[in-house]
């Protein structure tokens, strides 16, 4: 349903991304751009951006045909997929030429009924492409069929003189393409290689979770000629403008001050904002207060569309109640425990058998749920945990989630970029000093946090080896903790690779170096190192105990 996006006037803060993708076909032809791998967390608006691109390209008449395909709703048996992909492409091409938007989503139109439509649009040459596809189908050549479908945009671009902008959504589901049953034909996604090479039909590909999508594109055949585009969360003011625009359509008003708790909780995620606006409409109130939003939020977390969304994500891979329980216990442990456990320790602490635990951890990693920065997802997990593990009543869960709502109101987020130059780390240290002062943090504790930050920045400066000499910092402070992420491009490393050598050994060495991460780990409550796109991200978390905040 690529023509069902938000009205352009309500589509906020993505102008640059939209403008770049709209011109992708021109730029690709001039070798100024590659295929685009569109990355971003769940709900951040990747699909919506594709819809906006589709609509603009569809109407602007630059002889570029937009083609959108979602693997989420696709039948993943390969023969069915091939026919579906092929038919949808033809329909969208004909819709573009005839400027008949209804044709784009005409699910009832079969390949046979499509033939006269193509002919009436002056696309007789397309009948050859259809014949070639049908030949493979009749002869039972499955791979031929899939290839014919996937290469249809390239063939049409060559024959028809119009470039094709191919947009593949939920591409991670393409891993499930199969012949008879799931897993019997791995690697079918790599068949897109040929089509992606064609400069007349640039591809924009997206999906979730990011790590899985990146995994597919670690295949050199797909990675070549592909650039990454990261879709970021909406800033707070834009988040509110977006939420407000949705409410106004339903004749509901809400002051920014009343909504600030919600805005900070959803962390710039448009999907959550949309769901909250729909939930607000169901309350039938004309003016929303914070307590109304808290009620809507509890509803969304327990029974609403947010709950439905996350339940669907979990149920993609979880088939049994037992596995769900294991997963919930694992997630709760990750959310509440300071520092990381190894698998053996987790098995002991949670009382879960190794095999079961391994399966749950695989699901967490495979779905990108293991490491996240999403209070809404955490609340969903909390609510489910209370229901499934603790057996609490809906009323009780609602009350507890309600108590948590708005705790993000008192959070502050700051971002900064520093150059990799001498003493730039001091600028970051000064920033964290002021952030700490803003929340009345005890000066001694601040000194330690500054030191840990300085050490992390120095590590990035010394070891990144990147031409992009920048460090990206993100500070999030709440009354409970300070979290700092430090991202640097270039070489990666893991905490495991940093061997803790004994003091005597370091003293005996010539340079006597290697104290930085020892210090960081001693100071901070949690230190994580992960690879995010082309950057190494170090996350430092310091919990604030009562005595550490000045009264």
């Amino acid at each position: 349903m690529p023509l069902t996006g938000l009205p352009a006037k309500d589509y906020l803060n993505r102008e640059d991304d939209l403008s770049y993708l709209r011109r992708l076909a021109d730029m690709r032809q001039d070798s100024l751009a590659a295929n685009v791998l569109l990355l971003g967390t769940r709900g951040i608006g990747k699909t919506e951006l594709l819809k906006q691109v589709f609509r603009e390209v569809f109407w602007e008449g630059r002889e570029v045909v937009p083609f959108y395909y979602s693997f989420k709703t696709a039948a993943l048996k390969s023969s069915t997929f091939a026919r579906d992909y092929f038919t949808r492409f033809l329909k969208q091409y004909a819709a573009y030429v005839k400027k008949e938007p209804l044709l784009v989503d005409d699910a009832g139109m079969s390949l046979t009924r499509l033939m006269p439509v193509l002919s009436s649009a002056g696309l007789d040459w397309m009948l050859d492409i259809v014949d070639a596809f049908q030949e493979h189908a009749v002869s039972g050549d499955l791979y031929g069929q899939i290839l014919a479908a996937i290469s249809a945009p390239a063939a049409a671009a060559k024959r028809g003189g119009r470039r094709i902008l191919v947009m593949l959504d939920d591409f991670t589901a393409s891993e499930d393409l199969h012949e008879a049953r799931r897993g019997d034909a791995p690697g079918l996604a790599s068949l897109f290689e040929e089509s992606m090479k064609n400069s007349l039909c640039p591809h924009i590909i997206t999906g979730s979770p990011t790590a899985r999508l990146e995994g597919i594109f670690s295949d050199p055949s797909l990675r070549k000629d592909t650039e990454r585009m990261q879709l970021l969360p909406l800033p707070e003011d834009t988040s509110f403008s977006f939420f407000d625009s949705l409410l106004r359509k339903m004749h509901i008003t809400c002051d920014m001050r009343e909504a600030i708790g919600l805005i900070r909780t959803v962390r710039g995620n448009p999907l959550y904002l949309k769901n909250m606006a729909k939930a607000a409409w169901k309350t039938k109130k004309k003016e929303l207060r914070e307590k109304d939003l808290a009620e809507c939020y509890c509803h969304e977390i327990l029974d609403g569309e947010i709950s439905f969304y996350w339940s669907s994500v979990l149920s993609e891979r979880i088939r049994t109640k037992n596995l769900l329980r294991t997963l919930l216990r694992l997630l709760m442990r990750q959310m509440t425990k300071e520092g990381a456990d190894d698998e053996a320790r987790l098995s002991q602490v949670l009382g879960i058998r190794d095999a079961e635990l391994g399966q749950a951890m695989e699901i967490l990693d495979g779905n990108g749920l293991g490491r996240h920065d999403d209070p809404v997802f955490e609340d969903f997990v909390r609510a489910l945990y209370m229901r499934e593990i603790e057996g609490r009543s809906a009323g009780e869960i609602r009350e507890r989630i309600g108590e948590r709502f708005g705790t993000q109101r008192d959070s502050s987020r700051f971002e900064m970029v520093i150059p990799m130059t001498d003493q730039a780390e001091l600028v970051a240290a000064r920033a964290v000093e002021q952030i700490g002062k803003n929340i009345n943090l005890e000066p001694d504790l601040l000194n330690y946090i500054q030191l840990a930050l300085v050490e992390t920045c120095i590590n990035a400066i010394e070891h990144s080896g990147s031409y992009e000499k920048k460090i990206y910092l993100n500070f999030l402070s709440t009354p409970e903790q300070i979290e700092i992420t430090i991202e640097s491009p270039g070489r990666s490393f893991s905490l495991d690779s940093l061997r803790e050598s004994p003091v005597e050994e370091k003293l005996a060495s010539g340079r006597k170096r290697g104290w930085g991460f020892t210090l960081i780990r001693k100071i901070m409550d949690d230190v994580r190192v992960e690879r995010v796109n082309d950057r190494t991200r170090v996350t430092l978390v310091k919990k604030i105990r009562n005595k550490e905040a000045l009264k």
């Binding site: 330690y448 003293l507 170096r513 020892t518 001693k522």
Partner: protein
């Protein structure tokens, strides 16, 4: 934390050199500190007191330079003392398990008295 440009100065009290590193002790300034201490050692002084009163921040590379100063002085049969360290700096040495390798004193006077006592 206000960090001034790094400077290192020193003065002599009898046979003891008292060194004052000011500002941020890191990889760049660490060299200056090592050179300043080395200058005194070359002049035959075997007792050095480093007064950290005006040192704003010591990073882990700064610490590695202090370890080098200590090693050089010990090789020459000398003694290195630290005074007026801020709590965060002391704690840093503690966290890294390095306190047993240095002599710490609250102020210059206590360091000088201790060095004088060692002589006797």
């Amino acid at each position: 934390m206000t960090t001034s440009p790094f400077q290192v100065t020193s003065r002599l009290v009898k046979d003891v050199a008292i060194v004052y590193p000011r500002g941020y002790l890191n990889n760049l300034s660490g060299e200056y500190l090592v050179n300043e201490c080395g200058r005194h050692a070359q002049a035959g002084l075997k007792k050095i007191v480093v007064n950290f009163h005006e040192t704003d921040l010591i990073n882990s590379i700064g610490i590695s330079f202090l370890l080098n100063v200590m090693e050089d002085l010990q090789t020459a049969g000398g003694t290195l003392c630290f005074t007026e360290m801020k709590k965060v700096h002391l704690d840093t040495f503690e966290m890294l398990g390095l306190t047993k390798y240095f002599l710490f004193f609250p102020d210059e006077e206590a360091a000088l008295t201790a060095l004088d006592a060692r002589k006797r």
